[in-house]
């Protein structure tokens, strides 16, 4: 008897959840590097978790661990009736372009890349603007006149970071030298902190005293090595200032969390707009991080300069070149 009752309750509970889930089933697909990369993907995770806390709605998630899973993961979620489905990272653009037309009723969003389809929202960030600001800070902070840049995988998106950064550095000190390295040419480059640390060491030996990491999980190794060597580093995507207080000069934050949160919320409220969405300094889509951990590292003069530059970029007085607009960088 007891067992029967339990079974009935369980069945009722299951029906209730599935009925509820059928209404609104958001899903999030993380890119390689993983959910807890302390950077790009983690920021998306934070946005999704905030949505869950605010609305009580569970979301499905998947971490891509190799390239062959991309299309499968998107298709699986779409087939099971999830919508909206947010996919992280430029490398998911091609599989999304294949899957999205097959599920015209499903709402998709992609972060960091543009997929031009009627049911896809593309969110990109003006990383070159944010990178310009942290480059300016790096240029002012550097005593040696040499700063470093460590990229992840060698792709146009990361060159966009690099190009904006170099422009910022040169704005602070026209004579400054920027040592640039990419970690690798395969997706493994997003998750190799040992190599990241080795590259950082090489840059520091070469005279760099501020190193900017735009390399996902590899950046953890970059920040660690800079802290070990008593130099400064700049984090990326998430606010990474807390990782090594006193050594991380600032972080180029990209509000991926806001983009994810908004996509979920818009879809829930039935006002999911598709199309192209570029978040820049004006919309606070990108910016630089200042908190207790780095307050002592940034002087008032630096603060004033970077806020001035920010205002000028928004006003259009400073034009930061976007690498991806021309596939080249005028300052390199």
């Amino acid at each position: 008897m007891k067992l029967k009752l339990f079974a009935a309750v369980a069945a009722a509970a299951m029906m209730a959840t599935s009925a509820f889930a059928a209404d609104f089933k958001p899903a999030l697909i993380f890119d390689m590097g993983g959910k807890f990369d302390k950077s790009f993907n983690e920021s998306a995770y934070n946005g999704a978790e905030k949505f869950k806390a605010d609305t009580g709605i569970e979301y499905a998630e998947f971490e891509v661990t190799n390239a062959s899973q991309r299309e499968q993961a998107i298709r699986n979620f779409a087939r099971r009736g999830h919508s909206p489905i947010i996919v992280m990272g430029f490398q998911n653009a091609e599989p999304l372009g294949t899957v999205a037309p097959q599920f015209p009723e499903t709402e998709f969003a992609i972060i960091d890349m543009v997929v031009d389809l009627p049911n896809v929202r593309s969110v990109v960030f003006n990383e070159h603007e944010g990178s310009y600001l942290v480059g300016l800070l790096a240029g002012m902070k550097s005593e040696t006149g040499t700063v470093g840049f460590v990229g992840g995988m060698d792709v146009p998106l990361i060159r966009k970071f690099a190009c904006g950064y170099v422009q910022g550095v040169k704005a602070a000190d026209a004579e400054a030298k920027v040592i640039q390295n990419m970690t690798g040419e395969t997706p493994a480059a997003w998750n190799d902190p040992v190599k990241g640390g080795e590259i950082t060491k090489a840059q520091i030996d070469g005279g760099a005293d501020v190193v900017y990491a735009a390399a996902g999980g590899t950046g953890v190794g970059v920040l660690q090595k800079a802290a070990d060597e008593g130099k400064f580093s700049i984090g990326v995507d998430s606010n990474q200032n807390y990782l090594h207080p006193g050594s991380v000069l600032t972080s180029m934050v990209k509000r991926v969390d806001v983009a994810v949160y908004n996509a979920f919320l818009d879809a829930k409220e039935g006002k999911f707009e598709t199309g192209f969405n570029a978040l820049g300094l004006e919309a606070d889509g990108v910016g630089w991080a200042l908190d207790d951990n780095n307050a002592d590292l940034v002087s008032d003069e630096m603060k004033a300069a970077v806020e001035k530059a920010k205002a000028e970029i928004i006003a259009g007085d400073i034009a930061v070149h976007d690498y991806m607009s021309s596939d080249s960088c005028p300052v390199m």
Partner: protein, 324 residues
């Protein structure tokens, strides 16, 4: 060219740091393969050791505890490989692949369960890591021409595991070629029946060889996670176990050539880091992939018989069946 000369000491310094995990792992493979147990699970053992070392070092705040934990886990994995391929006479390649996959999945799973940081281990304090040592007189000698930079810049200033790795080379040579154990170990890899006839246990000898292999892989893994980096990250070995295997084959299963091969492969990894843009006349800029692929290319060329000949131990990969 001037730039090249300035960066040369940095390049050699970088080469040494990058070749250490390869050297430990290749020497580990040397012991195992010389005894007739092929081991493609160097990668998995390193990964397991790297995780265990970082986890233990984080919890106990001691680099030494981390190293011991790494060795323990690596030896345990080696014994699994030994059990499958010696006692059960299974296929050594299959067993090795299995260990690689188990290590890849289990490290992330346990890391997530214990530390909830997505398979990472917490960042280590300085006590939890092997710090850099400055050798005696390094500062005083720094100004001596040629010798000074060589000693101060390249030889001094590494962590203790780096020196341990290079000391392992003569030690391995001595064990393999100057002790009774080494003689028997090599014999069991060539002709186990003869060793058995002489009244020496083939099984026990091979088990000892895989234990030594596990021990050395433990050093390799610990070096990655608690000396070079500060904590474990998913799949942090990034194929180093396979490059070590390539180095072992390239060196034709001999200790000193193994060191040379590891230094060469370390150099190939260091070059794109120090000189991101190498341009050769007539070719233009050499992409980094070329350097990354070279260890494998060189090994294949060697196996094809263009530079000497690589002959593996005769009984390698063949489980020993005692005739009754």
């Amino acid at each position: 060219m001037e730039d090249f000369l300035i960066k040369l000491p940095l390049l050699l310094d970088s080469m040494i740091r990058l070749s250490v995990p390869l050297l430990f792992a290749a020497l580990a493979g040397l012991f195992s393969e010389r005894s007739g147990i092929f081991d493609i699970s160097l990668e998995g053992k390193m990964l397991g050791a790297a995780f265990a070392a970082a986890a233990a070092a984080a919890v106990m705040d001691s680099a030494l505890a981390g190293l011991l934990a790494g060795i323990l886990v690596s030896v345990a994995l080696a014994l699994v490989h030994g059990f499958a391929s010696i006692t059960q006479r299974g296929n050594q390649i299959v067993s090795g692949v299995a260990i690689n996959f188990v290590a890849l999945g289990l490290t992330v799973l346990l890391g997530q369960a214990w530390f909830s940081q997505g398979g990472r281990t917490p960042q280590l304090s300085p006590d939890g890591r092997f710090g850099e040592l400055t050798l005696p007189f390094a500062d005083q000698l720094a100004d001596v021409p040629f010798l000074g930079p060589l000693y101060e810049g390249i030889i001094s200033g590494h962590n203790i595991l780096v020196y341990a790795a290079f000391l392992m080379v003569p030690l391995s040579w001595w064990v393999l070629f100057r002790t009774r154990f080494g003689l028997r170990l090599r014999a069991v890899g060539e002709n186990p029946a003869a060793v058995d006839t002489a009244g020496v246990s083939v099984i026990w000898l091979r088990y000892r060889a895989v234990i030594v292999c596990g021990l050395l892989c433990g050093f390799a893994g610990a070096y990655l996670s608690i000396a070079q980096a500060s904590g474990f990250t998913k799949d942090m070995t990034a194929g180093r176990g396979f490059i070590a295997l390539a180095a072992l084959i390239f060196a034709k299963w001999k200790p000193v050539p193994v060191m040379m091969a590891c230094l060469l492969f370390g150099l190939l990894q260091a070059i794109p880091i120090q000189y991101p843009q190498i341009s050769l006349p007539g070719i233009g800029i050499v992409p980094g992939q070329v350097m990354q692929a070279l260890p494998y290319v060189l090994t294949v060329v060697l196996l094809a018989g263009f530079i000497g000949k690589a002959i593996p131990p005769k009984a390698g990969g063949v489980p020993y069946v005692k005739e009754r």
